[in-house]
């Protein structure tokens, strides 16, 4: 379990996260939605321990960061390192022995090629392969479906289902509602650093409609689309 209590985060005088309280339990997939700048990535960085914060974040497996697979929105890749070496690097970091990297190549990536030459989607797929190879207990996937082709989207969705089945905790952010609908058990709506709504699977359609209301409102009435 991951338990977040009274989490707040400020950048100077700007408060980006305000009194966040959340529980994530094993075998569940959680979606975090919100517009750009709502605080999703900051929340993920706080959970990962990459940011200082006020409040508490506790987990069953301690320390949390050593059991967390973190997929960044834009994974950083070194200039002269192959895909295979990238996976090796992240496995070495967790002291996970990996003998046959090729067998883990679920996305059919050109692993002997420099990863910096990969497209945005390929970099994301490489980063996903690497964190899966680390055998983590918890996963935070920041926009895993962005920039990824449709075939890989299907694979990522299946991976998330599999992680849920084997009792992992998965937290996802996405701007594509259908992907969250297909994977999540619970969705939390973040707005201006606060969770304003949390819904279970059977209420996702209500949330989607409400979000449309909030986001679009009557903005398009004044904009004549021809």
């Amino acid at each position: 379990m991951i338990k977040i209590s009274a989490l707040s985060k400020n950048y100077g005088s700007k408060q980006v996260l305000k009194n966040i309280n959340l529980n994530f339990s094993e075998g569940n997939v959680y979606g975090i939605v919100g517009e750009n700048g709502a605080g999703k990535t900051t929340l993920f960085r706080c959970i990962a321990g990459l940011e200082d914060y006020q409040g508490d974040i506790t987990s069953t497996e301690k320390p949390l960061k050593n059991h967390l697979g973190l997929l960044l929105t834009d994974p950083f890749i070194f200039s002269k390192i192959t895909g295979k070496e990238y996976i090796q690097l992240l496995c070495n970091a967790r002291e996970v022995k990996i003998d046959d990297v090729e067998s883990r190549n679920i996305f059919d990536l050109p692993l002997n090629q420099y990863a910096s030459t990969y497209s945005t989607g390929m970099k994301k797929k490489l980063a996903i392969t690497a964190i899966l190879s680390q055998h983590n207990k918890y996963y935070i996937l920041d926009e895993p479906f962005n920039g990824v082709d449709i075939q890989s989207n299907i694979i990522i969705t299946e991976i998330i289902h599999k992680l849920k089945q084997i009792g992992k905790i998965v937290i996802i952010s996405s701007h594509i509602f259908s992907t969250l609908d297909a994977t999540c058990d619970e969705i939390h709506l973040l707005q201006h650093g606060e969770f304003i709504k949390s819904v279970k699977k059977d209420e996702f359609h209500i949330l989607e409609n409400e979000m449309k209301e909030i986001v679009i409102g009557n903005k398009l009435n004044n904009f004549e689309i021809q």
Partner: protein, 305 residues
């Protein structure tokens, strides 16, 4: 064009401010460091002018980085782009050319200026998609990336070692060994993205220990041929070869400590100057290595448990 150079100047000022220095003071310190290093180098070895040219070309090569140049090409018309790049490269080479002229290495200074000019007009972009094999693939990333980036430069110390044997110049062999360490040390100072430190599930102490283990082991692999060849031909001076190998290793260790002592930022100018001072007086490493180690542990505690 003018705006571009003003922007570069402003960016330099910001970097100095970020490093905790007033820009004017920073420029004075950089100038003093440059002059000090230059005199030290020319005092220590008769082959300093070659090393000096290599250092200068190394700096100008950085300006030829593909992404940077693609961006500049997209911003400026072709003629302006070429003029800008030539100006940049000549400005970067200018202090080196000036000192070579002062030392009456007229031919070398002309060659350096010419090569800097050619480098400004050369694109290293390649369509060949080959990953250079490396013996260091098991423990990415510093040696893996460094080896690939410096493959041709890495050949120089070995060539110099062979020359040192053929002309029976022991000092040249030692210079080759130190040059190899200088190249290896160049693999390290730039901090990696914090994600690659955060990913490690180990304590700061163990993290540093693993980094040192890899660095010393791989550096030894690269130094081994030089040490063995030198040891064979200059057996009576073997203790001196081992002494320089030891000093190089301690300096490598200190650089790793200094890097993580500033992490996730780059090594700042005052600490850079401390490291330069350590080159000129290596016993200082025994004082500053523990200082940087303590700092590194503190900085890494933010990312590692």
């Amino acid at each position: 064009m003018r705006e571009y150079f003003i922007l570069q100047f402003n960016m330099s000022n910001r970097r100095l401010k970020d490093a905790g220095l007033e820009p004017m003071l920073g420029y004075v310190l950089i100038l003093a460091g440059f002059i000090g290093f230059t005199f030290f180098l020319f005092q220590k070895t008769e082959f300093a002018h070659y090393a000096y040219m290599l250092i200068s070309l190394g700096l100008t090569t950085k300006l030829s980085e593909i992404k940077r140049n693609d961006f500049l090409k997209s911003c400026f018309k072709n003629n302006r782009y070429k003029f800008l790049r030539i100006t940049e490269n000549l400005a970067a080479a200018f202090p080196f050319v000036l000192f070579l002229l002062y030392k009456q290495y007229f031919f070398d200074s002309a060659i350096l200026a010419l090569l800097s000019l050619i480098l400004a007009l050369t694109s290293f972009k390649t369509t060949v998609n080959i990953s250079i094999p490396t013996p260091f693939y098991k423990k990415p990333f510093e040696f893996t990336v460094g080896f690939r980036n410096s493959l041709f430069v890495l050949m120089i110390p070995y060539i110099l070692t062979i020359i040192s044997i053929s002309v029976q110049n022991f000092n040249l062999g030692i210079f080759a060994l130190l040059l190899l360490f200088l190249i290896i040390i160049g693999f390290y100072p730039k901090p990696e993205n914090e994600y690659f430190v955060w990913s490690f599930s180990m304590s700061p102490k163990k993290f540093l220990f693993e980094k040192l283990k890899t660095a010393i082991f791989y550096a030894t692999i690269l130094c081994f041929p030089i040490v063995i060849i030198m040891g064979f031909f200059y057996f009576t001076n073997f203790h001196l070869i081992m002494l320089f190998y030891f000093v190089g290793t301690v300096f490598l260790v200190t650089i790793i400590f200094a890097k993580y002592g500033s992490f996730p930022n780059e090594i700042n100018i005052p600490e850079g100057l401390i490291l330069v001072t350590c080159i000129s007086f290596p016993p200082l490493l025994l004082v500053f290595a523990p200082y940087f180690y303590t700092k590194a542990i503190t900085k890494l505690e933010r990312f590692l448990v």
